[in-house]
Amino acid sequence: MWQLGPGWDDEAQLARAWRAAQPFPYLVFDDFVAGARLPELLAMLEEEPVQRYEGDIFVFEASAPEPTTPELRELRASFASVLAPALSRITGHPLRRADMRAYAYRAGHYLLPHSDHQDDLGRVIAYVYYLPSPEPPAGGELELFACRAEHGELVATDSARLIEPAPNRLVVFEVSPLSLHQVREVLGGLRISLAGWFYP
């Protein structure tokens, strides 16, 4: 399912773009999956159940942290095996495995600003892959913030980048205490994605 297209050929250029990205390292890859394979990808997710999750920073629907269907487990394994070596070279972080959950953001769903960073979790690179939606979403952008910290506390958080949840787009970004980001509220339609983190 996962194959790196021509956009991945020049790893030196991608590494430069990664390092230069602001407000923190990130890359965007459009047309990530060959168009002819998208129906097959969507079919592999059909049986994976999702449920509503709600906390003070989020409301969304998602699959369980551990996939329940062999199809999603296979997608997760092949995603890591194809991307981890290339992303290791591009980002300079040794990566081996990835987790993967399916997400469905409906109207009114959101994920408020947070960094993904927790010392004990080992998340190195975050990713989100936007699937084609039967009801293209309004809103639901990934927003990256420029932050300043003093004594371990954030003292400034300013909006810096908005990334549209365009279908068949992969976004990867570095996880750190300063990688503040959010999923803006979906105002209508359906935002569906696969997302997770890469680990050493």
Partner: protein, 174 residues
């Protein structure tokens, strides 16, 4: 099994309706607005407007008296603030302060209109145990404990005219 936290932790959690009427709420709301709010925007914690130490002595005294009657405690105002939230605003639980003692927190809803989904969530060890909906004129009375935190839920942008005004008091034993 009953835990010590359940026995001695946050106890009273209730909402008293119609504590102030629409016209008095509008008067107070107007005075607060004229005094002026300051926007808080450290977005990993919250997004809202704050007015510290609102000068509403008569109202604060009346609310304290209601809380004293409902909890059976002799209480005095320790802190007061007014919060104003619009579409896209929120206060996260980790922006809230934990209290080692058991103060009483009051929230008077001065909003001009009800905003469905805009709630206060009181949590014990992270789990929501008490939800306060946005009902103009109502007063929430919550006895806090060392493991109790509170968040103000995200206000949806799908309601572009949503406006929530909360007068919040922390009361301690006299």
């Amino acid at each position: 099994m009953t835990t010590l936290e359940q026995l001695f932790g946050g106890r009273t959690a209730m909402v008293v309706d119609d504590v102030v009427g629409p016209s008095r709420a509008a008067e107070v709301r107007g005075r607060l607005a004229r005094t002026g709010y300051t926007r808080y925007a450290l977005l990993d914690r919250g997004s809202y407007e704050l007015l510290a130490d609102p000068q509403e002595p008569a109202l604060l005294a009346a609310l304290t008296e209601i809380a004293a009657r409902m909890t059976g405690r002799a209480l005095a105002v320790a802190e007061a603030r007014a919060l104003r939230l619009g579409p896209g605003d929120y206060l996260l639980a980790h922006h809230d302060r934990l209290h080692e003692d058991h103060p009483v927190e009051l929230t008077l809803d001065l909003s001009p209109a009800s905003v469905p989904g805009a709630e206060l969530h009181y949590r014990r060890r992270g789990q929501v145990y008490f939800r306060v909906p946005c009902v103009p004129g109502s007063l929430a009375i919550v006895e806090r404990g060392p493991t109790v935190s509170c968040n103000h839920t995200y206000v949806s942008k799908r309601n572009p005219v949503a406006r929530i005004v909360r007068l919040m008091l922390l009361l301690r034993d006299r």
